[in-house]
Structures are given as C-alpha cells and as structure tokens.
C-alpha cells in the first residue's frame, strides 16, 4: 500500500517503479490492426456486416458481387481506423516530445542533462523558471530563502492563479551544493489520482539528520504538467513517474455517453433485424418448397437430383444476403458525420460567444447533440453559473452596528469611514481579520501597485475591501505578514493556517502579533460554523439577525471571529496539529478534529455581506426553458435563504401566492421523514393545480432522505418541477443527478466550479461554464459555454435542430434500404423464390452509399422552424422531449411508407415492362430509377427549407444518377451496356417514372 522512495538512490527503484516514459497511446505499430479491428468488431452492427460480407464470398449463395458489401465495409472501417490512427499518431508525437525533453537530473552527485523519460523514482530533478514539471516531485529546495516557489497548475485543474508551494521543514536551509548529495526516504502512498492530497512523510539520512519524520502535504509537491513561475529554480525528488503520476492516473477514457436517440435507433435496428430473420425464414422455406415441387420439373434449370448436405441452407442464406441491405450500412457513417457537424455548428455559433472574454462555445463531446433537444431536467449550480461570481463587498455588521444599509455600499458609508478614521478598536480588529485571515498572496508590481492572488473570490473581495478601508495587506515574506493601516505598518507572524474545507465550512489562521507577541486565532466562516462557537455570554442575536437580513437580500455572508490564545495553549495544540498533519490515514478527518479543539469560544466580530450579481439574461433563460417543459433544480452549497432569494430573483420560483415553497428539514430521521411526508402530501394535492410548487431541502436532510427514504424522495422528485437543494456537497449533487437518471429522465447538469465536476460527469449532458472559478468544470463537460444564457440557444436551437435532423436522417436511412429490399423480396416471388437479385451489384452499392446518402446528408441544414419562432414558442420543445419524431410508431410510419413505395414501383414496373419489354437489365434499371425518383421526392417533401445546397444535393443527385448510368451504359464490357440510353429514348420509360412518382404522393 505504500511506496518508499529512497532519495538519490539510483539502483533500487528501477525494477520496482516504472521510468518516466509517458504513454497516452492506445496502439503500437504492431497491435494497431488487430486491436483496432477487434474494437470495431465489438459493435454488433459491424459484426453483422462482417458476417454478411463473409457469406458473400461463397459464390453459390451470393446474389451480387461480394464487392458490393466489402467495398463499403472496408471504406467505413478504413475511415474510422485512419481517424484512430491519426489521433494516436498525434498522441505519440506529443508523448515523444514530452519524453525527449531534456531536464537536469542529479546522477552520481553530478547534475546532468538527460531526457525526461529517463527519470526514475528517487532522482533529484532541477527546474528553472517557466520549466514544465516532468513528473511528480517533492520539493526539497528552491531559490527562495524561505523555501517558497510558485506554480501554475492550469493544466492540472484549470485554475489560472499561481499557487505557492513550500519545501518541507526538514529541508529548510540546506545548502545549494549539498542538495546534490542529499539522502533520505519518503514514505508515500501508492499512486492515486487525487490532486488535492498527498499524505506522506520524509526522513532524511545523516548528515542531514532531523530528529523526526517530517510530514508532507500536497503543498510540498509540484505535480507533472505544472509550470514553475516567479521562482528562479527549484529542485525536487521524483516520487511518481510516467503514467503513475497524479495526472497520469486521472487520465483515462471517459465512458462514452449514449443518447436516448442512439438507444432508440439501436432498438429499431434490432427490430428490423428480427423482421429480416423472419422474412429470410419464410422465404427460405418457401424457396425450398418451390424448388422441390416446381424447379425439379424445369429441365432448363438442371437441378441435380441429389444435392450436397447443405442444400437446404443455400436458399435461406441467399435470402439473408439479399435482405442484408435492410440494415443500412451507411447509417453509422452518416450519423457520425452529421453529429460532428452539429458540434461544429455549436462551435461556430457567433451568438454564443462570450464577448467579455472572447470565448466561443465549444462542444467537446460531438456525439450527444440530439440529447440536448430532449432534456427534461436541468440541475444547475448557483454561484458562478446563475451569478457572475464577481464578488463585491457590500455591507457589514460590526459589533451590532449595520453599515451600508442606506447606500447599499458599505465602502461609501460615512459612518464606517469615520469609524475607520477614528481607529475604533472593533472596526480595526474586524478589518484585520478581513485583511489577513486568508490565503491570499499580495504581489507588488514594479510600479508599487499591489495586486492579489486569491484562490477564492470571497477572499479576494474581502482583501480588496479592507484595502479600500485603508487596511492594506501589503506584503508577505515567508511567515511575516505586513499590513498598513492609516500609515502605520503592523507585522504579524503566521504560525498556522487551518485551511478551509467544505465540511468545516470555516478557515482560521493563528498569528503572532510581532509588536506585542500576542497569539491570536482569526477565523472566518459560515454563520453556522462560527456563531454556535461564540464564547458563553456573547450576544449573537444581532449577528443572527444580520445574517438573515443579508441572506434575504441574496447576499453571501461570512462571520468573522477571533480569539486570543495563551502561549502554552498554542504550544500544546501545535504539537497535536503537527501530529495530525503527519498521519497517513484519515489525515483530513484528524486535522478537522484537532482544529475543532482550537476553534471555539470565539469572540464574534461581525458579519460581512458580499454581493454576487446575477448574470445577464438568467431570469429570461430560466423562464423560457421552463416554458419549454424543462424542470429546474438548483443545487448549491450556499445557504438556504440566499439560495431562495436568488431563486426568486431569477424566476426560478414564483413568489406567493402563485408559487409555494415546501420545506424539508429536520435533524433526525423522524423529523425528516415527517416533513418529507408532509411535503409529499401537499405536492400530490397541488399537482393538479396550475401552481408553482417547489421544495427546498438542505444537505443534512437530503443525506437522510437519500439514505432512508429514497422511495418517497424519488416520488417527490418526479412530482416536483422545481427544487432547491442547498448546502449540498459535490457527491450529493452527483447523487441527485443519479436519482433523476434512474427515473429515466434526461438530465443536464450545468456548473462552473470543481465542485460541479462530479455532477457534470454523472449527468446525461454536462455543461460547463468557463467562468472565474477556472476551467475545471468546462474541461469535464460535454459542452462549455461562456454564459448561462447561452443555454437557451444551446437547447432550443441546437438541441432541437439536431434532434429533428437525426430523427429524419436515421429513419430515412432505414426507409430507403427497406424500399429496395422490399422490391427484391417481391421480385423473388416472380423468380421462383430462388434468390435472384433484380439489381446488379454496382447499382446496389451505389444506391446505398451514393445515390441515397448524399441528398439526405444535406438535411443537416434543414430548419423546420426559424430560430426566432422556437425562441418565442419554447413549448415546441415538447415534441422533442416526448420523442415524437423518432419512436416505434413514427418508425412504423416510415416502414409502411417504404412498403407502399416498393409496391408502387414494383407493380408499375412489371406491368409497364411486361411481355416483350421484360428484359432483365432494362427492368432492373426502370425499378432503380423509380426508387431514385421516389427518394428524391421523399427528401424534397420532408425538407422544410431549401437552401442552395439542398437544391444542389437533391436535384444534382438525380442528374448524377443519370450521368453515372449513362457512363456505365457507354462501357461495352459492363452488363448495362446501352441500357440507359435505350431507356431514356423510350417514351414509356418517362411515363412510367411520372406515374410512380405521382402515385407515391398518396
């Protein structure tokens, strides 16, 4: 379970751990063909086509030239194989580039320039500024005297801000030269993909002996693919290499998502397959019976009296081959092609460009556009998704005094400004917490201006606000913070940082005032994480009121608190904390427990209120999409009141009396159960009324409900069109998505931050907002958009069009295959059920892959209704949601249509070309022309808007049909020689065409 990394030991690790060769490749040159073929043949459709193609090699049973199946099959396989090969080759190139990059590594005590792929676990790697980190390293030295270095982790988690990393305390102060000779052991867990945790220990060997093991955290590491910034050099010990790095482990091919439509098409394909088997069996039996009763009498056929043992199988197999075209070989290729075009249309859409950042929308997953048109539930995050995630400090309440209530902006409140100017102790203390209780890094530019690097938008807002109130967080050198207040400089030494976790919901710092040596704990956090821990006797009533009042306004609140620590109390606690920080098992939980020992008896200083404005167009978008029959659930980590306020302001829920909010709460199972049942009862009653009923549930109650009352909660979820889930964790978000998916709803999850990633991956469609919380969500998502309001266009325009187009295209593909197949079946009844193909091989192949697929491909440009109409009447989406355009009954319609058209073409052809005209080649060409005319007619009828491309494809295809056949008719060696010329000269040919064309209208 653990790995021991011996620093600078060149030999021992070689067999144990892999070298640093990165490989993202799926194939090698040798295994490409077998592996790729194996992968392609694991799909049912391909197996089927291969079987057909193999059967066709048996000339006794093949009705047509084997090339008519092998050609398209090889083409299709070649296309997807070369796409794979190209992707893999590119991966190989980028791997090669990374593997052969030269890095400085210590070998036998000397720094050498070697290729990145030769790094082994335990090697010491030297990096210079702006170098990319070649493998996961534990820092042991940097150019910074305090042992700090800055890394950009954008490639890892998408966050663009710089992160500070620090060398472990044991390595502090080791001389530059000595670093080459350092020896020791790092005890770390086996490779995993958690980029936020690294629970390890370091012990150095003599002469670097340090008394005890030194705990290592993720703060002491720099991970593969990060960049070293603002640091002259850094060096570290390789702990994970090659594909075993944190990045390498988290790599992996995500499960391909299957759209509802794909599933339906597969189902219909299965149905057609069954139908085909039935047809083959019936015709096979009929053929054998006919052969025994009739064909033996026909001397000119010369049936042998005694056939081979497999004789009974021959006719059924012939029919199997004849009917194999029922399942169109082209459908997979056509669908892949149009789907990638749908995705391109999304990428290209200028109306979905975020003009503030210039980021266009992007479809990462090109295969699921149709699902967008069938969304039934949207699960949305709040912060950064509905809101802008641009935090602005608006109000505060310090020691019971409310600031900013009149003007709406505390920074302009003269009362507060006066208090600041007068250095009122409460206010100063409050501002101090605002300024330094955080993980912000101030960066001084050359002009002297200070900018802040913050990981959280709230901290950024607070520090900036404090700076405007003259409490400027000016500098941070190692552990010494420098703040300037009203001209004086105050220095603090940071002793510990108790980091924020979503479980604790607060963070604290322990600082030592350098002026008087007092040790103070400064905390900030959610109200329920701070206020209950106030010291006995403090009146927190005003703070509770303040929190409520701010939440009513939709503001985010944070409570600030502090506590003075005694020296011995701190020392005692510090040991516990250190111990907890170096545990390998359950470290997070242990730390939380230790923190709890310090974070109590707070003196609550006040409450801050931060505004997070709604994004443009959010209310309209939600209203439109709700009209389109889409249900919205808001899943947020924020508190209930804030969530409800935001929900109200963005049309999520209607205010009383039109809307009604039902609360599910409770701390115990019984309470939750009771309130759940009550809500369910109300919901059942009101579900018939035109009233907006929404339920609100918090994380705690949700946990209980999901665990013990899953059934009742599921029923509630189905009944309720709107829900607000607040205080939920990322995994609960994913659970809720899972719950709705298990009820067979199409879900779309939209979010912007790392906490939404799991929900986004879980949902049928994940949409990420490339927002201020980094690109993590956008990377994990199927679609990334710049603003929430683009969702409307994504669903109503792109989703709907994609759905309509695919519905037509897939059903049409079956239609055209069925038409020609039915004609073949009818023909078999007048050819002695012997399995003769009416059409020749060339025509059959061209019909499937050329004549009929080109016109239908342009249906991707078809628009049944204009974008404006759809936006105005979003209810139109009901059609797509309910799957009205592709379901067994519409498919039956197409099936009937193909049967009718086949009958029309066949009956007219054999009657118009009877007796002396019934020449095989001619008759087959008449029937084929009939099919081509009909399919042109069907495409034209089903097309709603004709652009120049559609005209070109439909009518051009018709012309192409004649041109191609004229060419074939001009080749003496072909069976069709002169046929088409003869036909085109016959008046009766054109009359036949016009009759079949007209009859198909009915």
């Amino acid at each position: 379970m653990k790995r021991y990394v011996y620093i600078n030991d060149n030999e021992s690790s070689h067999e144990l751990y892999c070298d640093n060769r990165i490989s993202n490749r799926k194939y090698t040159v040798l295994n490409f063909l077998p592996k790729n073929l194996w992968e392609q043949f694991s799909r049912f459709m391909n197996q089927y086509f291969l079987l057909i193609a193999c059967l066709q090699l048996w000339s006794l049973i093949t009705p047509v030239n084997p090339a008519s199946t092998w050609g398209p099959l090889i083409f299709i396989f070649a296309v997807s194989a070369s796409k794979e090969a190209w992707d893999d080759y590119n991966r190989y190139l980028s791997d090669k580039k990374a593997n052969e990059k030269l890095v400085w590594v210590v070998r036998q005590g000397i720094r050498k320039h070697i290729q990145a792929q030769d790094i082994h676990v335990g090697n010491i790697v030297w990096l210079r500024e702006n170098d990319e980190v070649p493998c996961d390293l534990v820092l042991i030295g940097t150019s910074d005297p305090q042992g700090l270095c800055y890394v950009e982790t954008a490639a890892l988690d998408g966050e663009t801000d710089l992160k500070t990393r620090v060398i472990p305390s044991a390595c502090m102060g080791i001389d530059f030269e000595l670093l080459h000779k350092i020896k020791g052991v790092i005890e770390c867990p086996n490779p995993d993909k958690d980029i936020t945790r690294f629970d390890a220990n370091l012990r150095l060997f003599p002469p670097f002996i340090d008394n005890d093991v030194c705990p290592l955290t993720i703060k002491n590491t720099i991970l593969q693919s990060c960049y070293l910034r603002n640091t002259e050099w850094a060096c570290g010990v390789a702990v994970y290499t090659g594909n075993e790095t944190k990045l390498g482990m988290s790599r992996g091919i995500p499960e391909p998502k299957l759209t509802a439509m794909d599933a339906m098409i597969d189902k219909l394909t299965g149905a057609i397959f069954v139908f085909q088997i039935v047809v083959v069996m019936v015709l096979g039996i009929a053929g054998n019976v006919w052969k025994d009763t009739e064909a033996r009498k026909q001397w000119y056929v010369q049936y042998p009296i005694e056939g081979p043992w497999y004789e009974l199988l021959v006719i059924p197999l012939r029919f199997e081959l004849l009917c194999s075209i029922m399942i169109p070989i082209s459908i997979k290729v056509s669908l892949d092609l149009v789907k990638s075009l749908y995705a391109k249309f999304i990428d290209w859409d200028t109306e979905m460009i975020d003009y503030e950042t210039g980021i266009p929308s992007h479809a990462t997953n090109t295969a699921i556009s149709e699902d967008l048109g069938q969304v039934e539930y949207i699960m949305t995050d709040k912060t950064g998704t509905l809101t802008e995630n641009r935090m602005i400090f608006r109000r505060c309440c310090i020691s019971g005094v409310f600031y900013g209530n009149e003007s709406g902006d505390a920074l302009k409140d003269t009362k507060l400004l006066n208090a600041v100017a007068g250095s009122s102790p409460d206010v100063v203390q409050f501002l101090t917490v605002m300024a330094i209780c955080n993980t912000v890094v101030p960066i001084k530019s050359k002009t002297g201006a200070i900018s802040y690097k913050a990981q959280s938008q709230d901290e950024d807002a607070l520090v900036n606000a404090a700076a405007q109130l003259h409490m400027v967080y000016a500098n941070k050198t190692a552990n010494i913070l420098e703040i300037r207040f009203n001209g004086s400089v105050i220095k603090y030494e940071v002793l510990e940082i108790l980091e924020f976790t979503s479980d604790r919901k607060r963070m604290s710092v322990v600082v030592k005032d350098c002026q008087n040596g007092k040790i103070v704990l400064l905390s900030k956090g959610a109200d329920e994480a701070i206020l209950p821990y106030a010291y006995v006797g403090q009146q927190t009533r005003t703070f509770i009121e303040a929190v409520e009042q701010y939440a009513q306004l939709g503001l985010r609140t944070l409570c600030l608190a502090c506590r003075e620590l005694r020296e011995d109390e701190y020392q005692e606690w510090s040991l516990l904390f250190k111990e907890a920080s170096s545990t390998l098992v359950d470290r997070e939980w242990r730390i939380a427990e230790v923190c709890q020992r310090l974070e109590h008896d707070f003196e609550v200083l006040g409450v801050t209120a931060i505004e997070d404005r709604l994004q443009d167009g959010v209310p309209e978008t939600i209203e439109t999409l709700r009209k389109a029959g889409i249900n919205f659930w808001m899943l947020t980590g924020d508190k209930q009141n804030t969530a409800i306020q935001i929900a109200l302001s963005c049309n999520f829920i209607s205010p009383e009396p039109k809307g009604q909010l039902l609360l599910i709460d409770g701390k115990t199972e019984d309470e939750v159960c009771r309130s759940l049942e009550r809500v369910l009862l109300t919901m059942r009653i009101t579900s018939s009324e035109p009233k907006d009923v929404a339920f609100v549930v918090d994380g705690w109650a949700l946990e209980i409900a999901l665990k013990h009352y899953r059934k009742a909660f599921t029923e509630l979820a189905i009944l309720s069109r709107t829900a607000i889930c607040c205080r939920v964790t990322p995994s609960q978000k994913a659970q809720l998505v899972e719950l709705l998916k298990s009820c067979d709803y199409r879900t779309l999850a939209i979010g912007d931050g790392g906490n939404d990633v799991r929900m986004i991956q879980q949902a049928d469609i994940g949409v990420g907002i490339s927002g201020r919380e980094g690109l993590q969500a956008a990377r994990a998502a199927d679609y990334s958009i710049g603003k929430f309001r683009f969702l409307k266009r994504l669903i109503l325009v792109h989703g709907r069009y994609s759905y309509n187009r695919t519905a037509f295209l897939s059903q049409y593909s079956f239609y055209k295959s069925l038409v020609i197949c039915f004609i073949q079946i009818f023909f078999s009844f007048i050819s002695g059920v012997s399995g003769t193909s009416l059409f020749n091989s060339v025509s059959l192949m061209a019909y499937n892959v050329f004549y009929t697929s080109v016109p239908v491909l342009v249906s991707v440009l078809d628009k049944d209704l204009s974008e404006g109409t759809v936006m105005q009447h979003p209810q139109i989406l009901f059609y797509c949601q309910a799957g009205r355009l592709l379901n067994p009954s519409t498919f039956a319609g197409w099936f009937g249509r193909s049967l009718f058209h086949a009958i029309v073409v066949f009956v007219i052809t054999i009657h118009a070309y009877a007796y002396e005209k019934s020449e095989m080649e001619e008759l087959s060409m008449v029937a084929l022309s009939g099919c081509i005319w009909l399919q042109a007619f069907v495409v034209a009828l089903e097309t709603n808007s004709f652009t120049i491309l559609q005209h070109l494809a439909i009518w051009g295809n018709l012309v192409a049909f004649y041109v191609i056949n004229w060419i074939f008719s001009a080749i003496p060696a072909s069976g069709m020689y002169t046929i088409m010329f003869r036909l085109c000269r016959q008046l009766s040919y054109w009359i036949t065409m016009s009759v079949s064309f007209t009859l198909s209208v009915f």
Partner: protein, 354 residues
C-alpha cells in the same frame, strides 16, 4: 495610503492577459452564412390552395394522357395471340405430352390458322410467348459467360456456366444453361398458300451484335453432351450473326415473356387467313408452361399494353377526387393558416403535460 495599488485587479498579470486574449481572439469562429446556419432558404408551405391546385392540375393532365395512351394501345395496335402448345400435341399423346415432345422420331409439325382481325400495317412483329418459364431463376440467369461470347481468347472462362461448361472435347461455346436451352420452335407463314417472307435480320439489339457477341467466335461443342437442351447452332456462323441466340440470351425478368422471332414486312389485310406451320420442338410440357405465337404491330408506346393508360386514368381520377374533397373540406370547415390557437399547448387548458 496605497489605495490605488490595492484596487488593481486580482486576476492574472497584465502580460498574460493580453497574450491569452489575443490567443482567444483567433479561436473566435469566422462568420459565414453557412456556419451560422443562415443560408438563404425558401420555405414552401403546403397551403390548402397549393395542394388543391397541384392535384387538379395533375388530374387534368393525367386523364387525357391516360386516354390517349389507352387508345393507342387499344385502337392502333393490332395483336393476334395463338396458344399452340396444347393443340399441337396429337390426340393420342394428350395424356403423355412429355413422351411426345421427348421422342425425336415423331414429326412435330403442326398447322394453325390465324385470322387477321384488322388491317395490320407493316412491319408486323412475330413473337413467341412463354408462360411459367423462369428465365430469371438464379441458377439459370447466372449460367452464362459474357466474356466468352465476346472474344475468342476468353473461350475458357466458363466458371459460371456449370453444369453446361465443358465437354471432354473442351469448353462449350456458348456455354451455360441459357444458351443450352435455346428456343427451337420454328414458324412458317403463308396466306392462300403463298409464303410470307419472315425477316429474321435485325431482331437482336444492335449493341449485342456489335459488342456483346464476337464476330470471330464460333459455336463449339454445343449441344454435344449427353443432355440435349434446345436448339442447335450452325457452327460455321459466328455468334454475332446468331440473332435468335442473342434474343434468347437477353434473359427476361418475368416468368411470362415474349421474344422477337422475326418481322413480316408486308401489310396483312383484315380477315385474311394466315396458315402457320409450326415445328413444335420446345419442351414446356414438363413444367406445364404455355407457348403462344403472337403477331403484333406497334404504336408510339410500343406493343399492346393497357396498363399505363389505365394507371394514368386512375391516378388522374384519384387526384381530381382528392382535389374535390379538399375543396369541400376547405369550404365546409375552413381553418386559418398559422393560427396559434391550434397549437397543442394552447388547446389544452392545463398547459403543461404534467
């Protein structure tokens, strides 16, 4: 008092912002009407008026067309059809026709008298018609070698021809079941004991004579095996001159078919009695097929075929009928086009499907 400094943005540094924004700029999609799906399009709407007009026009055009072609086939084309397979079997063999046809020593000639119903203008085409004969049977239709027919060098390509592919003396030319089963009844026409010339030239397709059947390919080992199928071929005449073979080898797609036998290049007067001496050699008795002799003139739509005319009249009639129905529907229950109150969500008062 460094308030200015503190208010600077806390996002990424200045340099990287401009770099990344310029990079993002290039990612911006290029505007074109295609990429925005805004190509100019016409959207034909099937309004009631348009539909009614279309149907009416089709009806008005189709019914006269149908009448014209029907009359062409009924009035212009004169056709005599005479089934002779039954009557050409002597009565003593009528219970065992197979024995009759398979016995080479019996004289197979047979005399039929045909009456010309109406004046038949030259050229009069002579066809033989076979019923219940499956030239389109899979075993049969594939049993030929076009290569071999075309050139003498491909004489040996007889793979598809089995079982009539070769004899002990070498490959059969022309090989295969199709050629082997060549029709071998012959007809001899006379009016008032005066022979009518039957022109047997140019009965095959020109393209067949010129390209499909080689002028230097001569029949070889044909009908010399154990089983004798149909006609024999004169092995001194090249295939390109064997027009009966060419006609026969244009296999029919239907089990009932006519093939051209020859042309009579003189007018046949009404009520003339034509004597036909038939050599009834071809075996259709084993599978109860029928043989018919057909004399026919042609018109602009070809031979006698009422089907297209009737089809036209039916389709035209249907169109007119539908047009009338639509007009009635339109008059009785008019419905304004594009009225949103007909939309499904506006019709149901509940509004939402929940």
């Amino acid at each position: 008092m460094d308030t200015n400094g503190a208010t600077t943005s806390s996002t990424a540094g200045g340099g990287s912002t401009s770099k990344s924004s310029s990079k993002k700029h290039s990612r911006k999609p290029v505007y074109s009407r295609f990429t925005q799906q805004e190509l100019p399009a016409c959207k034909p709407i099937l309004t009631p008026g348009l539909v009614i007009a279309t149907f009416t026009i089709i009806g008005i055009i189709f019914i006269p067309l149908g009448l014209v072609s029907l009359s062409a086939s009924e009035k212009v084309v004169v056709e005599i059809v005479d089934r002779y397979d039954e009557s050409c079997v002597p009565s003593n063999y009528s219970n065992d026709k197979l024995k009759f046809i398979q016995n080479p020593s019996i004289n197979k000639s047979c005399v039929r008298t045909l009456t010309v119903p109406k004046l038949m203008k030259s050229p009069v085409f002579i066809y033989y018609q076979l019923d219940n004969y499956y030239q389109n049977h899979r075993r049969y239709v594939k049993s030929r070698s076009d290569k071999q027919l075309r050139s003498v060098s491909d004489e040996k390509s007889t793979t598809d021809c089995s079982p009539e592919d070769k004899t002990v003396d070498g490959p059969i030319v022309p090989c295969g079941l199709v050629a082997w089963s060549l029709f071998n009844d012959t007809y001899w026409f006379s009016v008032n004991s005066k022979t009518i010339e039957v022109n047997k030239h140019d009965i095959a397709w020109k393209s067949d004579k010129e390209h499909k059947f080689g002028s230097n390919v001569y029949p070889k080992n044909f009908q010399s095996g154990g089983l004798i199928g149909g006609a024999k071929l004169n092995s001194s005449v090249p295939l390109s001159k064997q027009e009966d073979l060419m006609v026969w080898m244009r296999t029919a797609a239907l089990p009932t078919f006519r093939k051209l036998y020859g042309k009579i290049e003189q007018d046949l007067q009404a009520n003339e009695k034509i004597q036909v001496v038939i050599q009834n050699n071809y075996n259709t008795y084993s599978f109860s097929g029928k043989k018919k002799l057909v004399l026919s003139t042609t018109s602009w739509i070809g031979g006698k075929n009422d089907f297209l005319g009737i089809a036209y009249i039916i389709v035209g009639g249907l169109c007119l009928f539908l047009a009338v129905c639509f007009i009635l529907l339109y008059v009785i229950k008019p419905r304004p086009l594009g009225d949103p109150s007909y939309l499904s969500w506006n019709r149901s008062p509940a509004g939402h499907p929940n």
